[in-house]
């Protein structure tokens, strides 16, 4: 169902292609949504271009999330959803990351709102963001082992009772 390399009506494709030949790896059009697959190395540059270009003005980073396609490689797909309020336009940037080296440059310098979004991805998916100002777990306890939204993490977890409860029962005779 995914039409690859087809003509896109989104102005971002033309602008980014004119700006740099290797900014876009692939254009995917599916159900009226435009996805640009961007090489990992140029993500921050592309994001800056999307935000600052006069014709695009993607001023709102509305969402960032990650899909784990385990056991395929590269298993992680980061999805950044951009909105341009002045131009009434939407765009998705996608970066593919391998499981051996899950590091991506942080987008906090471009959109400060990326801060908690990236912390959530780090917490639940285990992607590290280079240059993030405060990369700590946000939803799970800091002593949690593993990253539960990965596909190889069982839904029921590895432990049936939390460690703190075990500690409590052990101390009683």
């Amino acid at each position: 169902m995914t039409e690859k390399g087809s003509q896109s009506s989104n102005p971002a494709v033309e602008v980014l292609r004119a700006w740099s030949a290797n900014a876009i790896e692939e254009v995917i059009e599916f159900r009226g949504e435009t996805t640009l697959v961007v090489p990992r190395k140029v993500l921050v540059a592309v994001a800056e271009r999307c935000k600052n270009d006069e014709k695009l003005q993607f001023n709102l980073l509305t969402d960032a999330t990650c899909v784990d396609r385990f056991p395929l490689e590269p298993r992680f797909e980061l999805q950044y959803h951009l909105v341009s309020i002045p131009k009434k336009n939407k765009l998705r940037l996608r970066v593919r990351v391998s499981g051996d080296d899950p590091v991506v440059d942080s987008l906090v310098p471009v959109w400060p709102g990326a801060n908690w979004l990236e912390r959530e991805i780090f917490d639940l998916m285990g992607i590290r963001f280079a240059g993030h100002p405060d990369l700590r777990r946000i939803l799970l306890p800091e002593d949690w082992e593993g990253h539960p939204l990965r596909r190889d993490f069982p839904v029921e977890g590895y432990r049936d009772i939390p460690a703190i409860a075990t500690r409590y029962t052990r101390s009683r005779p």
Partner: protein, 405 residues
């Protein structure tokens, strides 16, 4: 939910240098609207630094969705933002419908709009009541909950449930609304405008209320959009961004309504904006009632995806087979991704669904407005005094179920 790096420092004040103090606000604090913990570094009564700590209500809904079929996951969405369950149903169903390329009958779309707008009013009523009680106006809470009860009674009448309705389903609605529901909504519409006037009488010109909210928690439009804030908080900063107008869904383009904006961007401005939004929602509900025909389909015709009607299932062989298959193995959308955003009472609520062609979603992600708006809390409260922290938490309108998911 990890220990945040807050340490006491020495700060220079007007009367010499002083040590700051760290105050642990929450997670069990009545004005944090749930289990939110904020580490506040205080210099006297002034907040020097604030670090929110969350995750106490994390239930792994996104992970659970991956283990359920597409239809089963609807009941989980109710439980995220428990003041806006119908909105959560709607965004999830719209995302799956987009993935499937499924069209929903107009009548079902209008009923969806009507229900979601009722939900918006009920959510704003809870917000107004709890925000007012936090700031010391006890009686407003009682009045707001009185009217919210009327809305919940309509939900119970139409969907069978007061709160966790799961009324909006993939391809349409769960049930045909019962006879007489239109009259109940009309009765509510006739009552509500004067009730909103009552709240305004109690609060708008009230000197204590103005003292507690005017000029508190100001954020500029540039800062708000940079921090990805959406909803009333962004619109009170003067930026018109509403998904119902900008990227219409569920036939919102056919409705005539205004999206109020303000420029004062303080707690008072956000209060006035939400009150104005309630009045606009009433307008939308009135128009929806005019559009909903007494008869007509509430579900699209999509064998294998949308369950057949009871009568059909009992009399037709194919319908019975489809019914059995939908409820045992589910249905498989084509591989791909869909991201849908709707305007929830709190801001932009988004749902991202990725399919790998199997009957269970590969990934479901919710862009919850409370979580992302909460990120701006330190920006709002740093430099303010401790009592304004409560006003600022209230004004963002967070629901902890939505924050932690």
């Amino acid at each position: 939910m990890s220990t945040a790096p807050v340490s006491t420092t020495t700060v220079e004040t007007a009367i010499g240098s002083a040590k700051t103090m760290v105050l642990n606000m929450g997670p069990q604090h009545p004005s944090t609207h749930g289990v939110l913990r904020i580490l506040l570094e205080l210099d006297g009564e002034t907040v020097v630094k604030a670090v929110p700590d969350l995750g106490y209500l994390h239930t792994g809904i996104e992970k659970s969705c991956e283990d359920k079929t597409y239809s089963q996951a609807i009941t989980l969405t109710d439980r995220m933002d428990y003041l806006n369950p119908l909105g959560n149903n709607l965004v999830y169903c719209l995302a799956v419908e987009k993935l499937l390329g499924l069209e929903v009958p107009k009548r079902a779309q209008y009923i969806r709009v009507l229900m979601v707008e009722l939900q918006r009013i009920s959510s704003h009523l809870v917000w107004l009541g709890t925000h007012a009680i936090d700031l010391g106006a006890m009686s407003v809470f009682l009045y707001c909950f009185r009217e919210r009860e009327e809305i919940l009674k309509i939900f119970e009448f139409v969907a069978g449930q007061r709160m966790m309705t799961s009324y909006i389903r993939i391809g349409g609605l769960a049930l045909e609304p019962p006879t007489g529901w239109v009259q109940r909504v009309e009765k509510f519409l006739a009552m509500m405008p004067s009730r909103i006037d009552e709240y305004e009488n109690l609060l708008t010109g009230n000197r204590i209320w103005m003292g507690r909210t005017k000029g508190i928690g100001v954020i500029s439009a540039e800062d708000a959009v940079a921090l990805s804030m959406t909803g009333p908080t962004l619109r009170a900063a003067g930026l018109l961004y509403d998904n119902r107008k900008m990227f219409p869904y569920s036939s919102y383009e056919e409705f005539d309504f205004e999206v109020p904006t303000r420029t004062d961007s303080d707690c008072f401005g956000r209060y006035m904006l939400r009150v104005a939004e309630m009045r606009e929602s009433l307008k939308i509900i009135k128009q929806a009632l005019g559009k909903i025909t007494p008869e007509g389909p509430i579900r699209s015709e999509a064998p294998g995806i949308v369950p057949p009607g009871r009568e059909k299932m009992k009399t037709e062989m194919e319908a019975l087979i489809y019914h059995f298959k939908i409820f045992t193995e589910g249905f498989a959308p084509p591989p791909g991704e869909a991201f849908v955003t709707v305007e929830s009472p709190r801001g932009e609520l988004g749902c991202f669904v990725a399919s790998d062609g199997s009957p269970k979603p590969l990934r479901v992600h919710f862009r919850s407005p409370s979580y992302i708006n909460l990120q701006a809390l330190p920006k709002l409260i740093e430099g303010q005094i401790l009592s304004d922290v409560i006003a600022c938490i209230g004004t963002i309108d967070i629901v902890l179920g939505d924050v932690d998911r």
